[in-house]
C-alpha cells in the first residue's frame, strides 16, 4: 500500500509544481513581463515537446523507424483548422477532431506498412508524409499551395501548456504499464516478444496510432497559434527536425525528448540573425553532440534528481535505438 501512497504523493507534488509554473508564466504574460517573443517560443517549445514525445513512442520505445511525423502533424493541423474555419465549434473539439483524424491516418498507414522493417519502414513513412503533403497541395478547398490563413489565434499559453502536460502524462503512463512493456519488448527483440505472447502487430499499430494522434494534436495547436498553415511547413525536413529532437534527447527517454525540444527550440530562435551560418552552426552542434553523447542526452534513462546522488547505479548505458535496417 505504501508504494501506492508514495506514487500518489509524488504525483501530487509534480502537479503542484506544474500549476506553479503555469501560473507564473500566465502571470508574466498578463502583465507584460514576458513579451510575446518569449511567449511564442514557449508555445513552440510546448508543441515541439508534444511532437518529440509522440515520435519517441514510435521510434524510441517501439523501435519502429518512422520519419513521416510531419505528415500526421499536417493532418491534425488541417483537420482542426477546417473545423474552426467552417464550423463554429470550440477549440477543444477542433483539436480533438484534428488529432483523431491524424490517429485514423496513423491506423491506415500503420496496418499495411508496419510489416516493413528498418529502413524500408522509414522510407514508407517518409513517403506517406510526402503523399499527405502532395495531396494537400492539390486540394484547393483547403488552400492548396497557399495554405490556410485567417485561422483565429485561439490556442493560448494555457491550452498549449496543459495539453503538453496531458500528452506527456498519457504517454508516460502508457509506457510504464504492461502495454508499454509490450511496446518496448518489440524494440528489444521482436521474435522473443512474439514468443512471449505479445501481439506485435497490435502493439506496433497502437504505438503508431497514439503517436500520430498526438502529432495531430500538435498540428492543431500549431494551426491555432500561427494563423497560417502551409503544406510546405510539413515537409520531410520538418520530420527530420522532430527526429533529431528524439535522438538528441535519447530514444526511449521522455524527459530526454522534453529537454531536447526545449534546447533545440531555443537554439533555433537565438540563431535567427545568422542566415546560412545559422544552419552551419546547428549542423555542427548536431554532429558534436552525437559524437560525444551517441546515446542522446539522456540515453534511455529518465531525468530525476536521484540521478545526481552517488547511490545511483552506474549501469553501462549502451543504448538500443530504433532497429534500423534488416
Amino acid at each position: 500500500m505504501s508504494m501506492f501512497q508514495r506514487q500518489i504523493g509524488k504525483q501530487f507534488a509534480i502537479l503542484l509544481v506544474l500549476v506553479l509554473i503555469w501560473l507564473a508564466v500566465e502571470f508574466m504574460i498578463r502583465f507584460g513581463i514576458l513579451n510575446p517573443f518569449y511567449e511564442l517560443n514557449l508555445i513552440l517549445i510546448g508543441i515541439n515537446i508534444i511532437l518529440a514525445v509522440s515520435l519517441n513512442l514510435i521510434n524510441g520505445f517501439n523501435g519502429q523507424f518512422s520519419i513521416g511525423h510531419a505528415g500526421f502533424m499536417a493532418v491534425g493541423a488541417y483537420g482542426a483548422a477546417m473545423i474552426t474555419l467552417k464550423t463554429q465549434l470550440p477549440l477543444p473539439l477542433a483539436l480533438l477532431f484534428g488529432a483523431l483524424l491524424a490517429g485514423v491516418f496513423g491506423v491506415l498507414v500503420g496496418i499495411p506498412t508496419l510489416r516493413l522493417r528498418g529502413d524500408y519502414l522509414a522510407i514508407a513513412t517518409l513517403g506517406f508524409g510526402e503523399i499527405i503533403r502532395g495531396i494537400i497541395v492539390n486540394i484547393d478547398y483547403i488552400g492548396g499551395a497557399y495554405g490556410l490563413s485567417g485561422i483565429p489565434k485561439i490556442a493560448t499559453w494555457s491550452w498549449v501548456f496543459w495539453l503538453t502536460v496531458l500528452t506527456v502524462i498519457i504517454i508516460t503512463n502508457f509506457v510504464n504499464s504492461t502495454h508499454g512493456r509490450a511496446t518496448i519488448s518489440i524494440r528489444e527483440n521482436e521474435i522473443a516478444a512474439e514468443a512471449m505472447g505479445i501481439n506485435t502487430t497490435k502493439y506496433k499499430v497502437m504505438a503508431f496510432t497514439i503517436g500520430s494522434f498526438f502529432a495531430g494534436l500538435a498540428g492543431g495547436l500549431h494551426a491555432h497559434y500561427f494563423y497560417t498553415i502551409q503544406p510546405n511547413t510539413f515537409n520531410f525536413l520538418k520530420s527530420f527536425d522532430i527526429l533529431v529532437m528524439v535522438v538528441l534527447g535519447g530514444q526511449g527517454s521522455i524527459t530526454g525528448s522534453i529537454i531536447a525540444a526545449i534546447f533545440l527550440t531555443i537554439i533555433s530562435a537565438s540563431l535567427q540573425s545568422l542566415a546560412a551560418l545559422r544552419l552551419v552552426i546547428y549542423a555542427l552542434l548536431l554532429i558534436i553532440i552525437m559524437l560525444f553523447r551517441p546515446q542522446g542526452l539522456m540515453g534511455t534513462k529518465e531525468f530525476s534528481f536521484k540521478m545526481f546522488s552517488k547511490k545511483s547505479k552506474d549501469r553501462e548505458e549502451k543504448p538500443h535505438g530504433t532497429a534500423v535496417g534488416q
Partner: protein
C-alpha cells in the same frame, strides 16, 4: 505510340540520373548500413567542383570530372573519419543524425562560400540532338549519362562481388571484428567504400550540372531523397537494385506526368513505392530473409 516512346526515353533519362546517385548511396549502405543522407550533398559539391574547374579554371570536361571525383572521394573519406567512424559502435540512428548534420553542414557551408545564387556551366560538352524514328528526340548527353550509369553499375557490381576488396567490404559489412580476424583492414575498407561512393556522387554531380546547366547549394536535397527512394525500391544495399529502382522511379514519374496529372507526380510515385514495398518488403531485389531463430 510515338509519345509513349518519347516518354519512355524521358523516363529512362531521368531514371539514369536517379540511378547514378543511387549507386553510391546503396553501396555505402550495403557496406556500413548507414543511410548517408549527406550523399546528395556530396553530389552537389561535385557539381560545384566541376563548375569551378570548367567555368573558373577553364578546364575541359574530362579533367574536371576526374578532379571532382578525386576531391569528393577525399571529402567522403574525411566525412567518414570525422563524423561516422567514432559512431561505429553506436546505434545506427545516431550516425543517421550526424549524417543529417553533415548534410546541412555541406548545404549551408557551400551557401556561405558561394552564395545561394544559381550557377551555370559553360558549354564544355557540346550538345547534339538526335532524331530517332521520325520525331523522337534524344540528346548525346542523355546517352552519355545512361551509358556511364550502366558501366558504373557493372563495374561496382564487379568490384563488390568479384574482387578481393569487394569481398573484404562484404565481410566488414557483416562483422567487423571477424573481418579483422581474417586479416582485413577494416578502416581502409570502409574508407575505400566512402571514396568510391563519393566519387560516384561527384561524377553524377558534374554530369547533371552539365546536363541541366544549373546548380545551387540545395540542389542535392531532392535528387538525394529520390535516389534514396530508388535504392530502397530496388532493395537497399543491392547494386543492380539501385539501378533498377532508379529507372523505375524515373519511368513512373515520366508516365504520371505524361499520362496522368503532373500535379500528382510525386504522391503517385510514393504510392507506387509503398505498394511495391508492401508486396516485396525488402525491395524488388531484396530477399526477405527472416532471421534464423
Amino acid at each position: 505510340m510515338e509519345v509513349f516512346l518519347q516518354q519512355l526515353i524521358n523516363g529512362i533519362s531521368l531514371g539514369s540520373i536517379y540511378a547514378l546517385i543511387a549507386l553510391g548511396y546503396t553501396m555505402v549502405y550495403g557496406i556500413v548500413q548507414l543511410i548517408n543522407f549527406a550523399h546528395g550533398d556530396v553530389y552537389m559539391v561535385g557539381a560545384y567542383l566541376g563548375f569551378f574547374a570548367t567555368a573558373i579554371l577553364g578546364w575541359s570536361f574530362l579533367p574536371a570530372l576526374v578532379m571532382a571525383m578525386i576531391v569528393c572521394a577525399i571529402l567522403g573519406v574525411v566525412i567518414e573519419k570525422l563524423a561516422y567512424k567514432p559512431l561505429r559502435n553506436a546505434p545506427r540512428i545516431t550516425a543517421l543524425i550526424t549524417a543529417i548534420g553533415v548534410s546541412l553542414f555541406l548545404e549551408y557551408g557551400t551557401m556561405l562560400l558561394v552564395t545561394p545564387q544559381v550557377r551555370t556551366f559553360p558549354q564544355v560538352l557540346p550538345e547534339v540532338q538526335w532524331k530517332l524514328l521520325g520525331n523522337l528526340t534524344v540528346s548525346n548527353r542523355q546517352v552519355i549519362i545512361l551509358v556511364i550509369t550502366i558501366v558504373l553499375m557493372v563495374l561496382l557490381q564487379y568490384i563488390v562481388h568479384k574482387t578481393k576488396i569487394g569481398k573484404a567490404m562484404r565481410a566488414v559489412s557483416y562483422d567487423k571484428q571477424a573481418a579483422q580476424l581474417m586479416g582485413i583492414n577494416v578502416n581502409q575498407t570502409i574508407s575505400a567504400t566512402f571514396a568510391i561512393g563519393s566519387a560516384l556522387a561527384a561524377a553524377a554531380g558534374v554530369l547533371v550540372g552539365i546536363y541541366y546547366n544549373a546548380i545551387n547549394p540545395l540542389m542535392g536535397i531532392m535528387p538525394g531523397l529520390k535516389a534514396f527512394v530508388a535504392a530502397v525500391l530496388g532493395g537497399i544495399g543491392i547494386i543492380p537494385g539501385a539501378m533498377t529502382g532508379g529507372f523505375l522511379l524515373g519511368i513512373v514519374e515520366a508516365m504520371v506526368s505524361g499520362y496522368g496529372k503532373s500535379l500528382y507526380r510525386d504522391p503517385v510515385a510514393f504510392v507506387i513505392l509503398i505498394i511495391i514495398l508492401i508486396v516485396k518488403p525488402a525491395g524488388l531485389f531484396g530477399k526477405n530473409v527472416r532471421e534464423k531463430v
